[in-house]
Amino acid sequence: MLLEVENLKTEFKVKRGTVKAVNNVSFGVEKGEILAIVGESGSGKSVSSLSVMGLIRDPGKVTGGRIMFHGENLVDKTKKEMNKIRGDKISMIFQEPMTSLNPVYKIGDQIMESILTHTDLSKAEARKTAIKMLDLVGIPSPEQRMEDYPHQMSGGMRQRVMIAMALSCNPEVLIADEPTTALDVTIQAQILELIDKLRNKIGMAVLLITHDLGVVAETADRVVVMYCGRIVEQADVKDIFTDPLHPYTKGLLESIPRMEEDKDRLFMIKGVVPDPTKLPKGCSFADRCDNCMEKCKEHMPALVDVNGRKVRCFLHSDEEEADV
C-alpha cells in the first residue's frame, strides 16, 4: 500500500459538544489506483482527506489513528516536515475553482511558487516546467495564459490550473476533494477524463472525494462509502454498483434518477442524517433503515470482511464494534 490510513479519528470541538467527524476510519490506496470516498454532506469524507494532508485547523484535531506513507506516520510529523511532503509527495485539488486560486497573483507565479518551494530549479527552469504542466492539462496557448489572473479564466480552466499546480512536483498521491461538483456536466466530463489520463501517464494514486455516485461509477477502481463519520461499505467499483450490501448504499443507488429507467417514484431513504453531536446508540443508520433489527438500535456493527469486501451491518455479521 502506497498510503495506508489506520483507525483515523478526527474531532471538532463545537459549542454543542464534540463532533466525531472521522471515527475510526481505515483505508488504503495503491500506486496508479483511483479510490473513491463517497458519502453525503456531513459523512466525514472531506475531513478524512484534509486529515491526511494535515490541513485540519482548530477547532478540529486529529485525535487518533495512523497515516502510513513510505513507512512513516504523518500524524506524528511536525509542521515543517509536513510542509516538505505537502505539494511534493501528496498534493490536493479542491471543489471551488472560483475561490481556490489567489485572485491577486498571476496563474504562472502561483504554479512556479509550488515548484520553487520543493525543487532547487532556477526561476527560468521553473517557468518552463509550469508551461509544460499547463500544456499537459490541456490549456491552449500556455505561455500567454501564464500571465493571466484567475478572474480572467472560466471554472473549467481554473480547475485545470489547479491540477497543473498540484502535479507540478510529480506527487505520488493526488487528493481530489469534489473536483467537478461546481462544474457544468460537459466540463466535468473533460476534467474526469483528464484525471484518468494523468493517473495512467504519471502513475500517481488518486483519492477521489465525491457525493456523486455517477462520477464514482465512471472513474473509480475501488469505493469506500461513508456515513456519519464511519465507513459502512468498501469494495471494488463493480461489486458496489451491481451487488451493494449495506442498506444505505442500496438506498443511495435507488434514490438516484436514472436515464435508462423510467420509474414513477424514486426510492426514498426516510428521515434525515442524525445530529453529529448526539449520535444515537447503536448503528447511526438504524432509524432510517428499512430492515432495522432490535440489535441495530443497541450496538454498533463492526466493519467485517465478506469475501474480500468490507461492510458494517448486522445483516452480514453479528460482530460488534469494539470501542464505540
Binding site: 490541513l55 510542509n83 516538505k84 505537502r86 511534493d88 479542491f94 485572485p103 491577486v104 511558487e113 493571466d148
Partner: protein, 338 residues
C-alpha cells in the same frame, strides 16, 4: 489608466463646487453678521455699513459667490478680516505644521496598526489578540484632547521628558525652507534643531495617531481574519508553503486592499483631529487657527480652509482608489482587456 484618472478628476469638480456652496451658504447666509464681531461692540452703525461695503458683503449673494469662486480658482481667497493679510499667506504659513503632524500620525498609525492587527489575527483569541481588542476599544473611546492632556500630565509634568507645546525652541527655528521643520533642519544639517523638533512632535503626533491606530488595527484584524478563511489560503497550505509565507504573501497581500481604503478615509478625519490636538499642544497649525477664526467670525479664512482641506481629502480618496487598482488586478481602469 490615465483616462480613468482624468475622468475621476473631472468628477471631483462638481463635488468641490458642492462643498463650496455648502460652506458659502452656511457662512454668508446662516451665519450672524460678522461686522459687530470684527469691529467690536462699540462700533457705530455707519462704520459697520462702510466696512461691509469694503468687504463686498452688501452685494447680491450670487455675485459674492461668483467672486469667491473666481478668486478660489486663482488662489486668491481674499483677505482675513483681522490681519488684512491675504488668506493664502495666513494659511500657507500654518499649513506645513498641520501636514507634518498628520503625516507623522498616519505613518505611526499605519505601521503599528497593521502590525498589531496582523499579529492579533494570526494568534486569534490569544493574549495579544485580546490585548489588541482592548487597546483598539479604548483608543476609539478616549477623546483625543483628553488623551493629549493625559500625555502632558504624564510625560511633561511627572516625567518631564518631553516639551508640552510649540513646534520647536524658538532660537533653533530654521528660517525659510519648506516649513516642514524636520526636513528643513535635516537639509541644513542642524541635528540639534532636528532632535528638538522631533521631541516637540512626539507627544502631539502620538495623541493624533492613537485614534487612527485603533481603527486601522481593528480593521486589519477583521480583514486578515477574513482573508485567512478564504479557500486560496488552504490551497497555499496544501502546496507545502511555510505558514509565515502563507500569512504574509497570500493573507496580508489580499487583506491590504480594504486596509488601504480605511487609511485613505482616516487621513481625512486626521485633519479634523488635528484641530483638537493643535489646540491642546498649542501647535501652530491650520486647525487651531481655524478655531480662532470661527470664534472671531473671520469667514474668508474658514471658507478657504474648508475648501482646501476638502480638496486634499478628495484627492486622497482618488489616490487610494488608484493604489487599490494596483493592488487588485480584477479592477481594470480602461486597461486593455488581455
Amino acid at each position: 489608466m490615465i483616462k480613468y484618472i482624468i475622468k475621476r478628476l473631472l468628477m471631483l469638480i462638481p463635488v468641490l463646487i458642492g462643498v463650496s456652496i455648502i460652506v458659502f451658504f452656511l457662512l454668508r447666509v446662516c451665519a450672524p453678521d460678522p461686522a459687530p464681531v470684527v469691529l467690536g461692540q462699540h462700533a457705530t452703525e455707519a462704520s459697520m455699513q462702510e466696512w461691509r461695503e469694503a468687504n463686498g458683503l452688501n452685494e447680491n449673494i450670487v455675485v459674492q459667490y461668483v467672486n469667491f469662486i473666481k478668486g478660489a480658482v486663482t488662489g486668491d481667497f481674499g483677505e482675513s478680516y483681522y490681519t488684512n493679510n491675504s488668506v493664502l499667506n495666513e494659511i500657507g504659513s500654518r499649513f506645513p505644521a498641520t501636514i507634518e503632524i498628520a503625516i507623522f500620525a498616519i505613518i505611526v498609525a499605519t505601521v503599528f496598526g497593521i502590525a498589531i492587527g496582523v499579529i492579533a489575527a494570526v494568534k486569534k483569541n490569544s493574549i495579544i489578540d485580546n490585548a489588541s481588542m482592548v487597546l483598539s476599544l479604548v483608543g476609539v473611546s478616549i477623546p483625543i484632547f483628553w488623551l493629549g492632556i493625559l500625555f502632558i500630565i504624564l510625560f511633561v509634568k511627572i516625567l518631564g521628558w518631553l516639551p508640552a507645546s510649540g513646534r520647536i525652541d524658538s532660537m533653533l527655528r530654521p528660517d525659510g525652507g519648506t516649513g516642514f521643520y524636520l526636513i528643513d533642519t535635516l537639509v541644513q544639517g542642524d541635528f540639534e534643531a532636528f532632535k528638538n523638533a522631533l521631541w516637540h512632535l512626539i507627544l502631539p503626533g502620538f495623541t493624533l495617531a492613537l485614534y487612527t491606530l485603533a481603527i486601522i488595527s481593528r480593521m486589519t484584524r477583521s480583514s486578515m481574519l477574513d482573508a485567512l478563511n478564504q479557500d486560496y489560503i488552504r490551497t497555499a497550505r496544501s502546496k507545502g508553503i511555510s505558514e509565515g509565507k502563507v500569512v504574509i504573501k497570500h493573507g496580508l497581500r489580499n487583506a491590504l486592499m480594504p486596509i488601504v481604503t480605511v487609511i485613505g478615509l482616516q487621513f481625512g478625519s486626521l485633519l479634523g483631529g488635528a484641530v483638537l490636538t493643535e489646540t491642546v499642544f498649542a501647535w501652530p497649525g491650520i486647525g487651531s487657527y481655524t478655531v480662532e477664526c470661527i470664534t472671531k467670525s473671520d469667514f474668508p479664512v474658514i471658507q478657504a480652509v474648508v475648501l482646501i482641506i476638502a480638496t486634499i481629502f478628495v484627492l486622497m480618496n482618488l489616490i487610494v482608489d488608484i493604489i487599490y487598482a494596483f493592488l487588485d488586478p480584477r479592477i481594470k481602469y480602461g486597461k486593455r482587456e488581455s
